[in-house]
């Protein structure tokens, strides 16, 4: 018996969400007195996973799409007591596909460790972070897909073994093109996000936003109207109908804080708001606020952060 964790590989290395997933699986496995089997396509650095709780690493050649991978994982679930998947873009397809194929019971958008086992209960975000749902997973295969960054990582001093296996799955479709911006921090997993709205007046003013993001190692984001008018790409649109984020730090510049915007960002741990209007609703959802003109405040903030980074 075991907890199976799907560990996503990004070009031969692991992102934080992979370690978080392994660490989640370990803590759940401890509750059930069982071991963790980490499934990954990574063949070079998979031993890193032991330090996060993988007792066994199973290396398989994964197919290319979520549907194919779900089919492969499904064949490994015979004696699994639970499955953990990080809620990345890929994980969001794998989780429900696996649940459908293996009669599993799935919680997506999970934001807690299991509150109990037999039956498994977890907390999950609902109503775009306006609510928290406690859900019971019944059935023999509970599957937990968690929001990256919401659980945290626990390192242990563990070791284990790596095996490989041959398992096939069908992609059902063919990938014709992949475009991934290199060197940029992907929004859903970013630990810090610098986001700007219509208050910036035009796309030509995003230089200072990118600089700020750069000093912080942050991803850039924007409000919906900013992507609707084409100042920024749709993939940066955060909020209830865009990407939902929960970084450690969310800096909102020239964004009013409409309810639909807040719904996608309010789970962020620390929120900083910079706005000329002291009545902007965003201040009510913020931890720190500056009433001021972004064009004056942001360059100064960039300088101050550079000085801070240089000194620390």
């Amino acid at each position: 018996m075991s907890v199976l964790v799907f560990v996503e590989d990004w070009n031969g290395s692991f992102k934080k969400a992979s370690f978080e997933a392994t660490s989640y699986a370990k803590r759940w496995a401890n509750m059930m007195n069982t071991q963790v089997v980490a499934v990954t396509s990574n063949s070079t650095t998979s031993s890193e996973l032991h330090a996060y709780g993988a007792d066994h690493v199973l290396q398989i050649t994964l197919t290319k799409t979520g549907m194919g991978i779900a089919e492969q994982l499904g064949q490994l679930c015979n004696d699994a007591q639970g499955v953990v998947i990080a809620g990345t873009a890929l994980g969001k397809t794998i989780g429900p596909a696996l649940a459908a194929l293996n009669n599993g019971s799935l919680s997506t958008n999970t934001i807690s460790l299991p509150l109990s086992i037999n039956p498994t209960e977890v907390k999950r975000g609902a109503f775009s972070s306006k609510g928290i749902e406690t859900i019971e997973l019944n059935g023999s295969l509970p599957i937990i897909s968690f929001v990256p960054n919401s659980i945290g990582i626990a390192e242990i001093t563990g070791e284990g073994e790596t095996n490989s296996k041959d398992i096939t799955g069908n992609d059902l479709m063919e990938i014709t093109e992949v475009n991934v911006a290199s060197g940029k921090v992907a929004l859903p997993e970013a630990e810090a996000v610098v986001s700007a709205g219509r208050g910036l007046k035009g796309p030509e003013n995003w230089g200072m936003i990118e600089e700020l993001a750069d000093v912080l190692g942050a991803a850039t984001a924007c409000s919906k109207p900013v992507s609707d008018i084409g100042w920024r790409p749709h993939s940066e649109h955060v909020g209830q109908t865009g990407i939902q984020v929960n970084p450690n730090l969310y800096i909102a510049i020239g964004i009013s804080g409409a309810i639909q915007h807040l719904a996608g960002v309010s789970a962020s741990k620390t929120i900083v708001v910079v706005n000329t209007d002291s009545e902007a609703p965003f201040f009510k959802a913020a931890d720190y606020g500056i009433v001021g003109d972004a064009f004056e405040v942001i360059p100064k903030l960039v300088d101050a952060l550079r000085a801070f980074k240089a000194a620390s």
């Binding site: 429900p96 775009s128 609510g131 406690t134 859900i135 606020g289 903030l301």
Partner: protein
């Protein structure tokens, strides 16, 4: 010349959700959403999907069926989808409490009919499941493009572009396929507000009622609560960004 524009039979799966501006409250016992004062709308992701279906129908001809698994209260939402341009509606008369149950109901309907394309939204903004479309695709062994922001159809082949972490991927698939769509499938400006004629004709378009056939849920909502309220905001003077840096480092431990 080969026919690149065959007639398309499109199914658009619609969830009925609280309006994005709704204040969310739960019943006193915390068991469910308190619907008092909440206005329900077509799930925004599904509105993009429905509009895409209209574009495809305009280019290819065909029929758009809109479907919802829900109780009678969801009918105005289906009528609205008809007013926007759906040709017929189906309501499966079950309370959509569990994603796998909803997915099985939809799968049964899809198997009994023949669709070239099934358009879902990436996510319902009520329970934020992101589950139903991938479940249907897995059960029917159909190609599936999640977070789909672009779709072109040529004869029996689709090219679908999906958001992936940090970028985009394009897939080629044979129809029928399933998409979990979002903004980008069509643009915000393409969304259509139903006009008087649409609303009038929606009243007479067919809305078929189907009794549920599935009864084996896998999850159960036990309790709902609101997130803890934030502590009051700390204001920092615009001239003193060093203080903000200090607070972020020492107090929030965010940098």
């Amino acid at each position: 010349m080969p026919n690149h524009n065959p007639i398309m039979n499109i199914l658009v799966c619609i969830s009925h959700v609280p309006d994005t501006t709704a204040k969310i409250n739960f019943t006193g016992d915390g068991k469910a959403l308190d619907p008092n004062g909440v206005q329900f709308v077509i799930n925004p992701y599904d509105e993009f999907g429905l509009t895409k279906a209209l574009h495809l129908k305009e280019a290819h001809g065909g029929t758009i069926t809109v479907i919802n698994v829900g109780l009678a209260a969801t009918e105005p939402t289906l009528r609205k989808a008809l007013a926007i341009g759906g040709d017929k509606a189906v309501r499966i008369n079950a309370n959509p409490e569990d994603a796998i149950t909803v997915a099985k109901e939809l799968k049964n309907h899809i198997e009994a009919n023949s669709y070239d394309l099934i358009i879902c939204g990436q996510e319902s903004i009520d329970y934020n499941g992101q589950q139903v479309p991938a479940m249907i695709a897995a059960m029917l062994k159909l190609p599936f493009a999640n977070a789909c922001v672009g779709l072109t159809i040529n004869s029996d082949t689709a090219l679908a572009t999906s958001e992936i972490d940090g970028g985009h991927a394009t897939f080629q698939a044979k129809l029928p396929m399933i998409v979990g769509g979002k903004k980008g499938l069509v643009e915000e400006k393409d969304l259509r507000i139903p006009n008087m004629r649409g609303i009038m004709s929606a009243r007479t378009k067919p809305l078929e009622l189907v009794e549920p056939s599935v009864n084996d849920g896998a999850t159960k909502a036990l309790h709902f609560e609101k997130p803890a309220p934030k502590a009051a905001v700390k204001m920092v003077d615009a001239g003193n960004v060093d203080e903000l840096v200090r607070l972020l480092h020492e107090e929030a431990k965010a940098i």
